[in-house]
């Protein structure tokens, strides 16, 4: 009997347990050296990662996700293209707030993709059932930024303040050969929009919260327009011309054009972002 007990206790400790120790109260492994900022160089084809942050002004835990986006942009400057999509059910303006971040195209995206409990993200994916928890974003993005770019995207914007018309010229150059049909998706986003925002700790609201990367509209079809009509070959180029007129409450000084290429399997091959002005 005694032997059985001893064997049992011994067996349990054969499984190791990693007990780690803090330094100055923090359990730190490494200092992350921020990646070099190439200023978003468009002349060479670089890989940028699309991060669709499904969020809401009434979502308590979403500000923490916004902070993670900000952190990741620090670590990988000009390598991440964030878009905050405001889920209609959790973005109803309340408490006297008049700013409404819900949009018809944003609602269409949310209806189709049906994001579960917020916050949730899609990283280099633009389709259902690819959700990433915020806690996985750093891990997934650290791998994605090192992927070889498959399509180069160069954006040229021209904005007319008088008519509020934006002309967008996009040059694409393929680095791959593929039989898959590709689509180009182009969004307008806007930074520095002040709204009321729910927070979890302490539970309540921040009355003047700065929302970033706010999805405003899809310039192409919400799910993209076909590109490379004659097939995708190495070094093959394509050119897309688009235009849209800004709505009265959009601020072109803070607006961006986001473009990304998506394949039939909802994978995003590359993304690019450029300020409207």
């Amino acid at each position: 009997m005694k032997r059985i007990f001893l064997l049992f206790i011994l067996a349990t400790f054969l499984y190791s347990c990693d007990v780690v120790s803090p330094t100055n109260n923090y359990y730190i492994a490494d200092t992350i050296v921020n990646n070099p900022d190439d200023g978003g160089d468009e002349e060479t084809v670089v890989k940028k990662v699309l991060l669709l942050d499904f969020t809401g002004t009434l979502c308590l835990n979403c500000p923490a996700a916004h902070e993670i986006v900000h952190q990741l942009q620090d670590v990988y400057p000009n390598k991440i293209v964030p878009v905050a999509i405001y889920v209609p059910g959790l973005s109803v303006p309340v408490g006297g707030d008049t700013v409404d971040l819900r949009t018809p195209d944003g609602t269409a995206i949310c209806t189709e993709l049906d994001p579960p409990t917020l916050p949730k993200g899609l990283i280099d994916k633009y389709g259902k059932n690819n959700w990433e928890e915020t806690t996985s974003w750093a891990d997934v993005i650290s791998n994605a930024v090192n992927e070889v770019p498959q399509i180069g995207i160069k954006i040229n914007n021209s904005f007319d303040d008088a008519t509020k018309k934006l002309d967008i010229n996009i040059d694409l150059v393929s680095q791959i050969k593929t039989d898959k049909a590709l689509k180009l998706v182009v969004f307008i986003t806007e930074d520095h929009i002040i709204t009321r925002q729910a927070i979890s700790e302490p539970p309540g609201y921040i009355q003047k919260y700065e929302q970033m990367h706010v999805f405003r509209d899809a310039v192409t079809d919400v799910w993209g327009d076909p590109i490379f009509a004659d097939g995708v070959e190495v070094n093959k180029t394509d050119k897309v011309t688009l235009s849209c007129t800004f709505e009265g409450h959009w601020n072109a000084d803070n607006a961006n054009v986001v473009a990304f290429i998506v394949d039939e399997e909802s994978s995003v091959l590359n993304a690019q972002e450029k300020t409207v002005k």
């Binding site: 923090y26 492994a29 928890e133």
Partner: protein, 552 residues
């Protein structure tokens, strides 16, 4: 699906059961119900079990075409979600494939399924049970947990990182082990459990003073527990204490404080009187096989709920959900039967039940000046084991009376006073704390042989959340085959008058042997159902629901 029958062949038998639930959805803006592009959604499953002497094998086929609203859509699809082979001999039992298992109260390990709340964390691996000598029961397990239909190495974050779970359990029955104690009135059972999970490292960032760091993530995490159960009629004590080493995770905001949990249950039962006192303290005890998982995904353990589980619609309106990050509470239940043929008991006697349960937060103090409580990458907080946190999460005082007045007529009365921290338990700041009084009357009249009618009247009074509700329900049963019900829940004092809706529902069912068919039509209000800390949101719906269950 499968047709059901039982047969014997070479000593082997096949048994099984199946269930299919189909629902149609219609948009109903008044109650916030959405339609669905598919128009009809369906959840179904079937179990088949083959037994031949000491050998058992089984499968469960599940199909979600697509998943009913309120269940996780990641289940969409179909396939054999559960398959196993098991061999049992005199003193050992071995299972290959999927299995469900629980160590003690589940504080460090519980693998189970509950279709109603859409939960299944079945293990896929190996389980061995061994009984080397009288009174000693050993169980060893290793494997990965089920996660919808994703392959075994796909985790919550969809990258290949779902953890490996391994563990062992020892139960030692002193009375079984020593012959001289076999027939003693006092029974003593000791238990020890050990569970370890392995998950590969993942990058977690933290920014301090403009410098970004990555955290040191423990890849192997151990939890263990000890148990003592003593029974000495009419008393019974069940106790378990569990401890877990550093386990930073999404749920605890990546803090490193070791977790602990205590569960105590003391009961006294004599004819006509019973008392149960339960106590629980949980401190940072979420334990999952994927550290990025949250909500109901990939729990290794199960923290039982000590608050009363209610069956009536309005008394179950605001169910408590175990707070894995920290809670402490007490529950007391008294049952008393007023004897038959006494002044108060009447001709048939009267059953009384009083229940009190209260759940508080735990005390949390900063670990150092300038470091906020729950700061990522630190120990998070200090907590005095015996200090009660200032926040009341839940309080329930319920009085219940059951009385039979006549051989054909009986009734029940229930009064409940409830305090429910909506912000904490449901995560909606706007509502705050809900204070509610609930009254329920339940009459059953058996007006002829095999014919009975049951009337249920309920009232929920509250100044918060959705305001006051009233409910009336009538159920006619023609035993043993038929039943028909009509129910209306009326939210007559919703603070937003435009949402003062009737939630009507009509249902009928037919039961023949082990087969039951039910068809209902109407509105379902939005709500939550919970088992321990595992909860499912019931969305508002409007439409038909058809359910078929059968076993063979």
């Amino acid at each position: 699906m499968f047709s059901g029958y039982l047969f014997g062949q070479n000593g082997g038998t096949v048994r099984g059961n199946f269930q299919t639930t189909l629902q149609t959805y219609k948009q109903d803006t008044l109650i916030g119900a959405n339609d669905t592009p598919e128009k009809v959604l369906l959840n179904s499953y079937a179990n088949l079990l083959y037994t031949n002497k000491n050998f058992t094998a089984g499968v469960r086929y599940e199909g979600y075409f697509n998943t009913l609203q309120g269940y996780d859509t990641k289940n969409n699809g179909f396939g054999f979600a559960y398959r196993f082979a098991q061999y049992s001999a005199d003193n050992f039992d071995i299972t290959l494939g999927n299995f469900y298992e629980q160590f003690g109260n589940g504080l460090v390990f519980r693998s189970f399924e509950d279709k109603y709340i859409g939960y299944d964390n079945a293990m896929d691996g190996l389980r061995v049970k061994f009984n080397p000598t009288a009174g000693v029961y050993l169980t060893g397990i290793i494997g990965r947990q089920r996660y919808a239909f994703f392959k075994s190495d796909k985790g919550f974050s969809q990258v290949e990182n779902r953890g490996l779970v391994r563990g062992a359990n020892l139960e030692f029955s002193i009375n079984d082990a020593f012959k001289g104690l076999n027939d003693k009135k006092t029974k003593v059972l000791l238990g020890y459990s050990f569970v370890s999970k392995y998950q590969k490292d993942q990058k977690q960032l933290i920014k301090l003073n403009d410098t970004t760091y990555s955290l040191e993530i423990p890849k192997n995490v151990v939890a263990m527990s000890g148990r003592l159960n003593i029974t000495h009629y009419p008393f019974s004590l069940s106790s378990e204490y569990a401890y877990k080493f550093n386990d930073p995770s999404a749920e605890n905001n990546y803090i490193y404080k070791p977790g602990n949990a205590l569960f105590l249950n003391l009961s006294y039962s004599r004819k006509g009187f019973g008392m149960i006192v339960s106590m629980k303290r949980v401190d940072n005890f979420s334990f999952r096989s994927d550290r990025t998982a949250t909500l109901s995904d990939l729990n290794i353990n199960y923290l039982p709920d000590i608050t009363r589980s209610h069956a009536y619609a309005f008394s179950a309106f605001y169910p408590y959900a175990t707070q894995n990050n920290g809670e402490m509470g007490i529950a007391v239940e008294l049952n008393y039967k007023l004897k038959r043929k006494t002044f108060l008991g009447g001709k048939y006697g009267t059953d009384l039940r009083l229940n009190y349960s209260r759940m508080q937060g735990i005390e949390q103090e900063p670990i150092a000046d300038g470091i906020p409580v729950m700061q990522k990458g630190t120990d998070g907080y200090y907590s005095d084991f015996f200090a009660v946190g200032k926040d009341t999460y839940y309080q329930d005082v319920t009085f219940e009376l059951h009385k039979k007045l006549h051989k054909k007529f009986k009734f029940a009365f229930l009064y409940q006073n409830l305090v429910f921290d909506f912000s904490k338990l449901r995560g909606e700041v706007e509502v705050g704390t809900v204070y509610a009084n609930i009254f329920i009357l339940d009459f059953t009249y058996k007006f002829a042989k095999k014919h009975a009618i049951r009337i249920e009247l309920e009232e929920l009074l509250s100044q918060q959340d959705m305001g006051d509700w009233a409910m009336a329900s009538a159920e006619y049963t023609f035993s043993p085959h038929w039943f028909v019900t009509a129910t209306d829940q009326y939210n007559y004092k919703n603070p937003r008058p435009q949402y003062q809706a009737h939630y009507y529902n009509f249902a009928f069912g037919y039961k023949l042997n082990a087969t039951r068919v039910q068809l209902s039509y109407g509105r379902q209000r939005e709500g939550v159902v919970c088992t321990g800390g595992v909860c499912r949101v019931l969305p508002a719906t409007n439409g038909f629901m058809f359910t078929l269950t059968s076993s063979f």
